[in-house]
Subunit: 388 residues, 2 copies
């Protein structure tokens, strides 16, 4: 496939100089098995080919990627990269170049793409609020100020977005399905939400709270969704934990009828029954869990850990809650991304400047790719998933 | 995107005549939002663009597609089409042409692609057994005779395939992860399995029985998987129903902790708790259900019906088991395919020679595409799902 792509690279330029002659014999590249690795220190991305287990090239000039995330267009051609500096960058996977870039705010913390692929929403700390852009042109089509920092932005089916407000303890839902945007505001979600996440079935929006203990669940399938508190001992109070240990909810996994989340500040996983929201167990771990990620089509979750114990990955069986395997990929494991059908996992090992690839069944290391201080790994298959 | 693809078509041919000059400016097509519609009467496929809601072209010469299915390569470039005549055809979505075609048996009924995208398995009535082909070359790399008709072939994580044997009541699992294939045979699955299906989490293989009542579940996450009977009144005995009413298990849906399946020969859905395998309810329907398909990221399943009541589609809420909407797309609704994030559904209306597109939230018809006697609709996003 790489060869095909290379041989293609010249073809288009030739086409610009030479009139088209007839139908194509061997066109370039499909995009179903591509991906991007964030190089956090250098503000660049490595384009990867999952099938070839290879890097295809590097895209530079994306600004501050120290806390970056991204999402893909439905055709898996474009990535929308949300940088910490407020930059929204549209990247073309085929030309491996920046298609468009706007600096849309002073400090942004995440974004989402609508289910029809037409709208890009970005949530901001500075100046706060959410801004929505045309996915094609990156022109702003809606500015939704909140007088508050916004967190936990996710797409919801039906051309909708959901997010929460740190300062006011609200959750807002913007519906772009009609002629005019309709904004729904839910109050009393909890004091100082610090992150929010949508479950993999698109049903439940979970909100982590900083200003009080507990987690809030909102059932978006209800006609009038309302906040429900659970895990009422979860989280920090002012005394017991420093701020930097609050786990991000994107690190929660949904597996086998359960949520799995990190016990704040402890070397433990918590298991919660998805239907009843009651705790069902705990698992002692190697360190403080950061990301807990479900291996597709399996009973397993993979867990990485906070510094200084971050050279390790553990695999836990969601049926027994027992650790079944411990791996040591190397210093500073920051992220893990599964092939969409679960055959392999790609693991960023920041301080060895590499991405390591493991077979999920044999646990054998089957490949390695060079990258500078890699953090997030994102395969294009994410284009087809809700709530990312 | 369509224009981009067209302008690309000439470029490559030019490249064949002209040496490559430099890097590309504007390459062609991503493949994440493409699809194929089977034209059953003419042995052809229509290539569709989901984002543009448009047909891009037609591929002809695929033989007998009266009972065809297909699967996609991980890069979403190639489709592997399994025809009733034993034909295995590799179709290139970019050139919109047949890349390779072999007639590998006398009468084949379905196939699957391994989780690493390297192996294509086909199950055959005539001469029976399963044959496995290299996905690149279509050369046969394993012939697994069974002395029996094989049905219900699916991919299982870890470079494995599973299928069942009509004549002997067995289920076989072939593991291609090592140097040599390892074959596991499970006996006593039930008399005359007529179809098998893997649940969406890759955990449970369900087998429908023709020679006795009941359904068999096999938990593939067990170290030694074993058949478990449930729904012991389900199905036919020789007296009570004609053969042609046996529903295919690909028409079962998995939603909200439940299986949903057609009540054989009746105008009813059956609901089964996924954890306990106990029945939880019934829903009276417009006709005999054929396909029951879960709308992604929603509580809804969409149902079409057997002739002569096949002009209708009903939508059922999996929480209440109630019908929430009845649509009449037109005569002979044969299949439904959802956009992977659930925003819209494409419905083949055979006797009006069209595919109708509906918004799943408003139920408004938002598009239509011409196709000759369309049956199955398959979006490339299927490349990323297990068990298809």
């Amino acid at each position: 496939m790489i060869l095909t792509r290379r041989s293609f690279a010249g073809g288009l330029l030739a086409a610009l100089a030479t009139p088209a002659l007839a139908a194509a014999e061997e066109p370039c590249c499909a995009t179903g098995d591509l991906g991007l690795v964030v190089e956090r220190a250098s503000g660049s991305l490595v384009v990867i080919d999952r099938s070839a287990r290879a890097a295809l090239g590097r895209i530079e000039g994306l600004g501050d990627l120290s806390h970056a995330s991204l999402t893909y267009s439905p055709d898996e051609r474009f990535a929308y990269v949300f940088g910490r500096d407020g930059g929204l960058t549209k990247v073309d996977m085929l030309t491996r170049s920046i298609a468009k870039r706007v600096v849309q705010a002073g400090n942004s913390i995440g974004g989402a793409i609508s289910d029809d692929g037409r709208l890009i929403a970005v949530s901001n700390y500075e100046p706060g609020g959410v801004r929505v852009f045309d996915a094609e042109s990156l022109e702003m089509i809606a500015d939704i100020p909140a007088g508050a920092k916004t967190i936990g932005l996710a797409d919801v089916p039906g051309r909708r977005f959901i997010w929460s407000l740190w300062d006011t303890g609200e959750t807002w839902i913007a519906d772009f399905s009609g002629e005019k945007m309709v904004l729904t505001k839910l109050a009393d979600v909890g004091k100082n939400p610090f992150d929010g996440v949508l479950t993999d079935d698109g049903r439940t929006y979970l909100v982590g709270l900083f200003g009080e203990k507990g987690v809030t669940a909102i059932d978006l399938w209800e006609v009038e969704p309302k906040p429900v508190r659970f895990l009422k001992d979860y989280g920090k109070t002012a005394d017991d934990l420093p701020v930097y240990k609050m786990p991000h909810l994107q690190g929660w996994a949904f597996t086998d009828g359960q949520f799995v989340l990190p016990a704040v500040g402890q070397h433990e996983l918590l298991w919660v029954d998805r239907a009843t929201l009651e705790p069902t167990g705990r698992t002692a771990m190697h360190g403080q869990p950061v990301f807990i990620i479900a291996q597709p089509a399996s009973p397993y979750v993979w867990v990485n850990f906070a510094t200084p114990l971050n050279d390790t990955v553990q695999i836990v069986d969601s049926r027994t809650h027992g650790v079944v395997k411990t791996l040591a990929p190397g210093p500073a494991v920051l992220h893990m991304e599964f092939a969409p059908r679960g055959a392999e996992v790609w693991i960023s090992v920041r301080d060895e400047n590499k991405v390591a690839i493991y077979d999920t069944r044999s646990f054998a290391k089957i490949g390695e790719i060079a990258a500078e201080s890699p953090s997030g790994i994102f395969f294009t298959a994410r284009a087809h998933r809700t709530g990312l």
